[in-house]
Amino acid sequence: MAYVATRGGERAIEQSERLYRAELGRIDAARVTAVRQTLPMLIDRVMGEASLYEPDLAALALAQSGGDLYEAVLLLRAWRTTQPRLGIAEPVEQEQLVTHRRISAAFKDIPGGQILGPSLDYSHRLLATGVLQGHPFEPRPVEPAATPAPARQPSLAAWQKAQGLVADPPRAEVAPDDIPDLTREPLLFPAARAHTLQSLARADTGGMLALGYSAMRGYGNAHPTVNELRLAEAELRVRHPRGTVFSAGRVKVSQAEVMAKGKSGLLELGFCATLGWNEVKVISGATLDLNAPGAAKGSPVEEEFFLYHTEPVEASGFCIHFKLPHYVTFQSSLDALRGARGAAAPIPEQAPEPEEVTA
């Protein structure tokens, strides 16, 4: 890489950081608490992309970065490396999820029924401008049903497999310690399915939406319908030194399956899940998963293309690194340009040879 050492910027750099932080002002515990309590959807998005579940730390990262999502995710990914890995929990299965929302756009009458849960899907998108004129917006309370919903809901995919609507491939039992882990090993292609799904779980929401949307609009192989979408809480089941497996608490998770009619005469499903509640992300991710088999090299639904381009820290880091001094690169481009012009000037009728310019 053609970087150049520069000198003389120390004071400017110091003042530049101060200028940025001065606009954010004093950050205290009260601000962090306010961020956590008032922006749960944003907290969830940041926790999912950081691949670190801790709402207070996510709120702190947002407060400290002034809401710059990529900075917040980077802060959390970096902080994560200071913590020891204490273990691997028992795998979460769909039917064990404490389910708050569970819908299907493909099937009206799904086993267990459709539960909207918390959602703005059917709301009018009206900005509550009265708040700015001193009229606080007070949400109306939920009118609870007489009986509670079942905490757990059956798996639609399992029912579809039992009905012979969806392929039911034999699954290999993998000990939790042997599950491939992107935090310990690189992403290589063709990727193990465990790597693909972990990478999607950590991926940038906006990037996944852009690529997933391209597939939804027709630049993919299959048009998705939401088979099942869930917002839920998963128990973190860990092991006591005496061997007892117990729940250390719950974390919010979202998962989606999208469906299309396959060439085999069966329904084909794509899957995506993430930490936190983030519907756009899991529907987009499941669409990419559905479209990936057989995708053309370099197409947005090809696994290598979408996994490489939706890693938030690498993508944003590569983008913003272009702001750092590239004077040697630019000087070489300029020299090539001037050289070409100089050579071209005396003989205007002859087109100059394009020169290979590399960074």
Binding site: E54, P144, P148, R202, D289
Partner: protein
């Protein structure tokens, strides 16, 4: 665990006890631990730290287990009175994890009336909170008709 039972058994099995301690009210758990401490004598703290637990999930399409992401937990491990106690809770509250470990150690020597009463009260509180939330969720159940 999601406990909707009306009658809580006086003696819980170890997994249910630990799950309940992990969700118990922090202040009441700390108060119970304070009361149980004197009987445990000298305490050796083996571990008191935060750390990460990786959470795997099973894909519903191909049945592949994959890592969803890491959860920050607080962990406490103690030895006292010839037994050991362990606490792990989602979050970073080391005191809560330590209080859980103290109660776990005390309970391993016998679930006294004091511990049983605590457990029963917390189980009711947790069940009530879960039920209240699930009644709100049930209110959003939709029955769709196509024309």
């Amino acid at each position: 665990m999601f406990d909707t039972r009306k009658d809580v058994q006086p003696v819980l099995d170890h997994a249910d006890l630990l799950g309940l301690l992990a969700r118990a009210d922090a202040a009441r758990l700390a108060a119970l631990a304070e009361r149980l401490l004197p009987a445990l004598g000298a305490i050796e703290v083996v571990q008191s730290r935060t750390g990460l637990v990786m959470l795997p999930m099973r894909d519903t399409v191909q049945g592949t287990d994959f890592h969803l992401g890491e959860v920050l937990v607080a962990e406490a491990h103690i030895r006292a009175a010839g037994t050991e106690g362990y606490g792990m809770i989602v979050g970073r509250d080391l005191e809560r994890a330590m209080a859980m470990a103290v109660v776990d150690a005390a309970a391993s020597l016998g679930q006294t009336a004091e511990i049983s009463a605590f457990v029963q009260h917390e189980a009711q509180e947790i069940a009530a909170a879960d039920t209240a939330r699930l009644r709100e969720i049930e209110a959003t159940r939709v029955s769709m008709e196509t024309f």
